[in-house]
């Protein structure tokens, strides 16, 4: 079939959609700005709730899409409507006339330096969830103590926070924090692990069991109180101030490493592309689907489709399911149109 489909973003959403489109007989083109495919999942270590190695999923997907045209290290410069199709110009000089475009642009991690009170970039032992995953994957990080007595996780950093510009819940961080807490406890069985949360939102399949495990088998301490200040003691440890809202008392605790659970925000590069083809943005800062219930995968423009975290925070299985469905949507659109 000589229909051109451009998939913007080579994360799991883009790859899964490409895989399905290949099996439907198309030859989609993936444009990925990073040097390799895989997106955020590729930089993750293990995935909840079964502790599946992230690399297994990414490697399998990479194999599955070997028939697609892949441009890595490439950005989309512009998109413009050209009669029935779209002219997509890439920064390597290639220009494509695409009958369909799939936005699989995903998310960016919230920039934790914006919450200066948490001391990211100020104190020596404050990292984000992303930093911790990179460390799990073997990247050296001096900020993460090699023999910690106590480690803390701050939930909702840049999520459910009007002051940070995101009032929505990032959905995956609660479970991620529990996963990382368990992983830290496995590495450092002697350390006390604290999770500071506002509400624990463990909505997905087996997530609640995961929470029970963390409590029962790993002894993770859950403290209901949002951290408001982080200080540093004279000997360089991190001091966290929160309210233990359940006992109603101000609380402080000294930690060796503090992990900030940075939330999800819409990928910043979407902000440049969306206005070119007049794509609507939703109140939460993500792309607006044609309908948030029965038309999640279509945009307000014909021929432009969405999959994954570009329309809101998603887990990996949700993203993969959307990508599969998006391939069908595109197929139907091209067949009928």
């Amino acid at each position: 079939m000589n229909k051109n489909i451009v998939i913007i973003g080579g994360g799991v959403a883009g790859m899964e959609a490409a895989k399905q489109l290949l099996s439907l007989g198309y030859t989609p083109m993936i444009v990925e700005k990073a040097q390799s495919l895989g997106g955020h999942v590729a930089s993750w270590y293990k995935l909840f709730p079964d502790m599946t190695p992230a690399s297994a999923i990414v490697d399998q997907l990479r194999k599955d899409i070997s028939g697609a045209n892949v441009f890595t290290g490439t950005k989309v410069v512009s998109i413009s409507k050209d009669r029935e199709s779209y002219a997509v110009v890439l920064d390597n000089g290639v220009s494509i006339s695409a009958q369909a475009i799939l936005f699989a642009t995903g998310f960016s991690l919230f920039d934790a330096t914006k919450k200066e009170e948490y001391g990211y970039g100020v104190y020596d032992h404050v990292v984000t969830n992303g930093d911790l995953e990179a460390w799990f994957n073997g990247k050296a990080d001096k900020r993460i103590s090699s023999s910690p007595k106590a480690v803390g996780f701050v939930h909702c950093v840049g999520s459910r926070d009007l002051k940070a510009g995101n009032s929505q819940c990032s959905k995956v961080c609660c479970t991620t924090a529990i996963k990382q807490a368990i992983e830290m406890k496995e590495k450092f069985p002697e350390a006390d692990i604290y999770c500071f949360y506002m509400d624990l939102r463990l909505f997905g399949k087996k997530y609640e069991d995961f929470y029970i495990n963390a409590q029962r088998d790993f002894g993770v301490h859950f403290i209901r109180g949002r951290v408001s200040e982080v200080g540093e003691t004279i000997d360089g440890r991190i001091q966290v101030k929160a309210e233990d809202t359940l006992s109603g008392k101000p609380l402080k605790v000294q930690l060796d490493t503090l992990v900030l659970m940075s939330g999800m925000v819409c990928n910043k590069s979407v902000g440049e592309l969306a206005p070119q083809v007049r794509l609507d943005m939703d109140d939460d800062g993500f792309l607006r689907s044609k309908d948030n219930i029965y038309d999640i995968l279509r945009s307000n423009r014909p021929g432009i489709f969405y999959a994954g975290a570009c329309t809101g925070t998603k887990t990996v299985p949700e993203t993969l399911a959307e990508a599969r469905a998006a391939a069908v949507e595109i197929h139907n659109y091209l067949r009928n149109g």
């Binding site: 002051k163 509400d199 109180g225 951290v227 309210e243 233990d244 809202t245 101000p250």
Partner: protein
């Protein structure tokens, strides 16, 4: 009083049908944002007065919702405004305190 071997003590149950939330309702008239509190405790954690008196804006709002007298809780407030700065729901807690100070009858 005769000793019956047992005493009648006031029920410690919070009876939502009977509590008086007049102060809270008046507060919500001037500061409707008060309703959006999700009791995260950020305000209490950052509070300058909390170490001295256990002042907690979260408890003040909850107390008003439950019809309690919150006046003693406010005695150490310095109006420094840090609670307003950290509130993730953008509630003007500092104005809330001033409003509460005005609502109560002397």
């Amino acid at each position: 009083m005769a000793d019956f071997g047992f005493r009648l003590s006031k029920s410690s149950t919070l009876d939502l049908d009977r509590i008086d939330t007049k102060v809270y309702d008046r507060l919500c008239d001037t500061d409707p944002d008060a309703r959006t509190c999700m009791a995260c405790g950020s305000c209490s954690a950052t509070c300058t007065a909390a170490p001295f008196s256990g002042m907690s804006m979260r408890k003040v709002i909850l107390g008003l919702q439950r019809g309690q007298d919150v006046r003693p809780m406010l005695s150490n407030c310095m109006l420094c405004g840090k609670c307003t700065m950290v509130c993730p729901r953008g509630i003007n807690t500092r104005h809330l305190i001033l409003s509460i100070c005005r609502i109560y009858d002397r």
